[in-house]
């Protein structure tokens, strides 16, 4: 049985993963950089396909430059970059299982960096499954990655800074934005307050720039509003919005309707934790925003020896933080794998550690600005789909609860919630909220279905490329079987 050995395995080739791989390689580590996308860059540096593609996206020259620098750093024989490869298994000791449709193998590393990135934080509402309703990430991939315009008019809705980004990108691409509907209803004075906490003003300036762009284009920005329903039968036709009162509830008597063929919904991000959970790292849950983060020390090592975590896959922080964390984790992973630290790495570390501090402060500030007390479960009606894959409605869940099936595992068994192709990514968060233990987040988490292999769905035939000796049937001494 061949298992490939490397010094550092990096999972994810987004901002954090690319930085980590680059820094580790600079210290002489043999790196395996595994990503399931066909092109590097993850979400932030989502890039068009290389074939003859000349579209002008809204990438700044600063971004183009630093992305090129990231790619240059991994362009070395020390880095084995594997695009299109799904890491479906991770196990002690520091071993990944991956398959890419042509090869299936294991990689054993002396240190692993999990830079698996994030996905959209999901909040269901009536009509959210209609074709035409897409996530903020989905919009970015469409415009930035593929240069395709979504059907207009477009409404951008949700909560948090990312929807301003989405709206601004739409405007730059010349797309008709009917309205921006943002849930936060705190006064803009808070922005100034937050600004005082932040030394690195570049991100704040960017946020202000986005708002200016929207104002210039006369896009109505409705603050303190939320979408209460998406309407349509075969696809989206309009959205209903309502103001949010002081108690975080929707004032349905003041509902307005906006015609839309696309709705971009952005409720923030949450780290993709499947691999982290498989290897069993400690997490910390976040009451303020929901979801949880990976616990790491100052070297960005998790509670599992030799496993590091960086970027949005560990805790949401945006691209600047991801780049800094990627470097820190990459350097420490290489050191953990036995590489000697260089003078350059030492100075990178000291610079990045202080940057890390100020970026974390900015993040806290941003979270304060966009904090709201909205009760998102107030949106749900009995017909609202909770599990998109298996079409489980809120009503179905309530009926099962009435029959005495109240725990997440019982509801899963009774309705198949969480058992579809998305492996619960779009519904288990809501299930946790609907079955939450009011006194203990830890108990709520413990009651949820465990993460199991494969970390992402994997084609059965993709596993068959593995080079394994055929077992001696019927009784291979190395392969214990069920006694019959």
């Amino acid at each position: 049985m061949t298992i490939e050995e490397v010094d550092v395995a990096v999972i994810g080739a987004g901002a954090a993963g690319l930085s980590a791989a680059g820094e580790a390689a600079k210290l002489g580590a043999r790196v395996a950089l595994v990503d399931d996308n066909h092109y590097p860059g993850g979400q932030y540096f989502r890039q068009p396909s290389p074939q003859n593609y000349k579209h002008q996206n809204s990438t700044s020259s600063k971004d183009t430059e630093r992305f090129s620098a990231l790619l240059a750093d991994i362009d070395t024989t020390l880095v084995d970059y594997r695009p299109g490869a799904t890491v479906w298994d991770i196990n002690a000791p520091l071993t990944l299982g991956l398959a890419d449709g042509k090869r299936s193998c294991r990689i054993r590393a002396s240190a692993i960096v999990i830079a698996a990135g994030a996905r959209d934080y999901v909040v269901p509402f009536p009509g959210w499954t209609l074709p035409g309703v897409i996530t903020a990430g989905g919009l970015q991939n469409l415009i930035k990655g593929m240069g395709v315009v979504p059907a207009t008019p477009v409404v951008v809705a949700g909560s948090g800074p990312l929807i301003l980004v989405a709206a601004a990108n739409l405007v730059s691409a010349g797309i008709d934005v009917a309205a921006v509907v943002e849930a936060t209803n705190r006064p803009w004075g808070i922005v100034r307050e937050a600004g005082k906490l932040i030394r690195d003003r570049s991100n704040l300036q960017l946020a202000i720039k986005y708002l200016r762009r929207l104002h210039k284009a006369n896009i109505p920005v409705l603050r303190g509003y939320g979408v209460i329903a998406a309407n349509g039968s075969v696809c989206l036709k309009s959205v209903d919005i309502a103001p949010i009162n002081r108690d975080g509830k929707f004032e349905r008597s003041k509902t307005r309707q906006i015609t839309a063929k696309t709705m971009v919904i952005g409720m923030g991000l949450t780290p993709s934790l499947e691999l982290a959970r498989l290897i069993g790292v400690d997490e910390i849950s976040l009451p303020l925003r929901g979801g949880s983060n990976i616990v790491t020390d100052e070297k960005l090592m998790t509670s599992v020896q030799g496993v590091f975590a960086a970027g949005d896959g560990a805790s949401i922080g945006g691209v600047e933080l991801s780049l800094v964390e990627g470097r820190i984790a990459g350097i420490h992973a290489a050191i953990h794998a036995g590489m000697s630290v260089s003078k350059q790495a030492e100075s990178t570390l000291s610079r990045d550690l202080s940057k890390h501090k100020s970026l974390c402060k900015f993040r806290t500030g941003l979270e304060q600005i966009f904090r709201n007390n909205v009760d998102w479960t107030d949106l749900l009606t009995p017909e609202t789909i909770i599990c998109r894959c298996e079409d489980v409605t809120l009503d179905e869940l309530n009926q099962c609860k009435a029959k005495g099936w109240t725990s997440p595992l019982q509801l899963k068994a009774a309705t198949r919630i969480g058992m579809g192709r998305c492996q619960g990514r779009n519904c288990l968060g809501t299930l946790a909220a609907l079955t939450a233990n009011p006194t203990s987040d830890a108990e709520t988490y413990r009651a949820m279905p465990r993460t199991r292999q494969p970390a992402r769905p994997i084609l059965l035939s993709d596993l068959l490329h593995e080079k394994l000796a055929d077992p001696e049937l019927p009784n291979d001494p190395h392969l214990p079987r069920r006694r019959d």
Partner: protein, 105 residues
Amino acid sequence: MNNSSDNRIGRSPPDSEKSDERVSFQFNGQEIIGYAGESVAAALIAAGILTNRTSPTGMPRGYYCGMGVCWECIVRINGKHTQRACMQLLESGMIVETVESAKKP
């Protein structure tokens, strides 16, 4: 025939000398033009097709997250059962079909 070059940003016009490679493919028997190397999802959306599958209770579904984690954009490609349209790169002659879910018993 659906020409999907209208809903694009920054592509060279189809009749210019430096135009990007356009390829044709089929969706449920209908011929559509897209660009080589873009995702099947992008080509479908650009052609105005927003629904690519039905859910277990017969609801229409389409592109949602664009990054391969929601599995809403699945289609059958060249007879292969469920392929995420947002992760599959378009090739000339691809036969793409809607996926009908097994009905919820």
